[in-house]
């Protein structure tokens, strides 16, 4: 279990260029372009699931997050052109250049064996039907009025491959008791600031019936975060908090980094109706 400390904000599309050049100056490095596909799964609603476990402890149902990198060469084939300007093309619902079928194949396993080889090959030397995912469950951020940053615990593991007669991550997770809830696409840039702070600017789309709808239309989500490997490592938590607050102060008056609403970061099943 690790801890993620974070602060968030947003900027509009028009401020993008200036923000990127300001941040590049501040951290001394240009940002890196990244993209990922996230599938959220929820416990099968047909199941009658107990609220307590065998030790009679209360266990709330939480969503599982599956996440995997996007093949960015699909979006922009030229490696040299894959810099922050790439994101300026993406102000609408449409994610140009990305074949959504690839994503469905990632999730459900490609039916066409030849296609699978091509997919594996483009993921840097993967052998055959590699199915690498990050699988995580996050807690609701810790409560308390005295908090200066958001603190969220995340339990994560990596899935290296799927096997069996229908080898796909989704078919395994349905055996585990989980079904697909919603799916997101993220394209963004990431600054590696000092002291272990990362700052991400991202565009987010919701994927629905093979169509994409941008939920960050008109702007970008700004997220500054520090990952702390051990939740008991008070020293790292304190220094991470200090670093985040220093960045918050530095950008203050320009972009206001704030603590995100902890309810909107809650992945428990019962929560969705509250937002």
């Amino acid at each position: 279990m690790m801890l993620q400390l974070s602060l968030v904000s947003s900027i509009d599309d028009a401020s993008y260029d200036l923000f990127v050049s300001t941040l590049s100056n501040l951290c001394g490095n240009p940002p890196v372009v990244f993209g990922n596909f996230t599938a959220m799964l929820k416990p099968n609603p047909a199941f009658d699931i107990e609220q307590v476990n065998s030790k009679n402890q209360l266990v709330e149902q939480s969503r599982i997050k599956l996440c995997r990198g996007l093949p960015l060469q699909e979006v922009e084939a030229d490696n040299a052109k894959r810099d922050f300007r790439l994101l300026k093309k993406y102000q609408n619902d449409e994610v140009q250049g990305l074949d959504l079928q690839i994503i469905q194949d990632m999730l459900h396993g490609s039916r066409d064996l030849d296609e699978m080889e091509v997919d594996g090959g483009s993921n840097k030397g993967g052998s055959g039907a590699q199915d690498v995912w990050s699988l995580s469950i996050s807690d609701i951020p810790t409560a308390g009025s005295g908090r200066k940053v958001s603190t969220q615990a995340i339990t994560e593991t990596t899935v290296l491959a799927s096997g069996g007669s229908s080898p796909s991550i989704v078919s395994f997770l349905s055996e585990l008791g989980y079904v697909l809830d919603f799916q997101l696409l993220v394209l963004g840039i990431k600054f590696n600031m000092n002291n272990g702070v990362f700052l991400e600017l991202s565009k987010i789309w919701r994927l629905n019936d093979g169509r994409t709808e941008q939920i960050t239309k008109g702007g970008f989500l700004v997220k500054a975060f520090v990952n702390v490997a051990k939740s008991t490592d008070i020293k790292s938590i304190n220094s991470g908090t200090t670093s985040l607050l220093a960045l918050q102060k530095e950008l203050s008056g320009y972009v206001e980094l704030e603590i995100p609403d902890r309810k909107s970061m809650d992945s428990r099943l019962e929560n969705k109706n509250d937002i």
Partner: protein
């Protein structure tokens, strides 16, 4: 790549030494020690359709980078808690925070309302023998401290035909027939013969021989 798993409940704790002695004429080398852990989880959901399986197995192999295979029915995934095993594509794209837990941990801490652990079978500090034909791994198996039997894992790294592998396995089985009294369980099956995956097949064979 082929594999077979053999489990004898009738063996004694000393059988493994006896097995080593019998095998010693054919040994090329003796390799590293190894362990495995076999856990059974049971789905707590009550309103499942009749006849559907409630058991899931998590098999962890220390000698294979601590990878775990999780098997339920005919689906399996391979997971790893090794941080160095995180694919760069995951970290670079903001999917992984780089600190990993085992799948067992995830089940115990987050999904214990769905899954309860039932059984814990272990093989600790087993031996690995290399013969000219096969890699033979043998270990005594314990469940909560009590001796359960002898488990032997046969693996062939060479690219041989199914028939050839079967013959090599038979030679070992003949040795065992002379040595052990009573029946033992053998499984050479693959989860999906059209699409072999060594570690998944191996885990599947563990389930078949250990789960009564």
């Amino acid at each position: 790549m082929h594999s077979t798993v053999i489990f004898s409940e009738k063996a004694t704790p000393a059988s493994i030494t006896e097995f080593h002695d019998i095998l010693s004429n054919d040994l090329v080398s003796i390799k590293e020690k190894w362990s495995f852990e076999f856990k059974t989880y049971r789905l707590t959901v009550k309103n499942l359709p009749q006849g559907s399986s409630k058991l899931m197995h998590v098999i962890t192999f220390t000698n294979r980078d601590n990878q775990s295979v999780i098997i339920k029915n005919n689906s399996a995934i391979v997971t790893s808690p090794a941080t160095e095993g995180v694919q760069p594509s995951l970290t670079l794209n903001g999917c992984s925070a780089g600190t990993l837990d085992t799948f067992d941990n995830l089940l115990a801490s987050k999904l214990s309302n769905l899954w309860t652990q039932r059984q814990n079978i272990k093989g600790d500090f087993g031996s690995t023998f290399k013969t000219t034909e096969l890699t033979v791994r043998a270990t005594n198996v314990f469940s909560y401290g009590g001796f359960k039997g002898l488990l032997i894992e046969l693996e062939c790294e060479d690219d041989v035909s199914d028939g050839e592998f079967e013959q090599r396995v038979m030679k070992i089985r003949h040795l065992l027939d002379d040595m052990l009294t009573g029946e033992y369980r053998v499984c050479s099956a693959s989860m999906d013969p059209k699409n072999r995956n060594l570690i998944c097949d191996l885990a599947f064979q563990y389930v078949k021989v250990l789960e009564v």
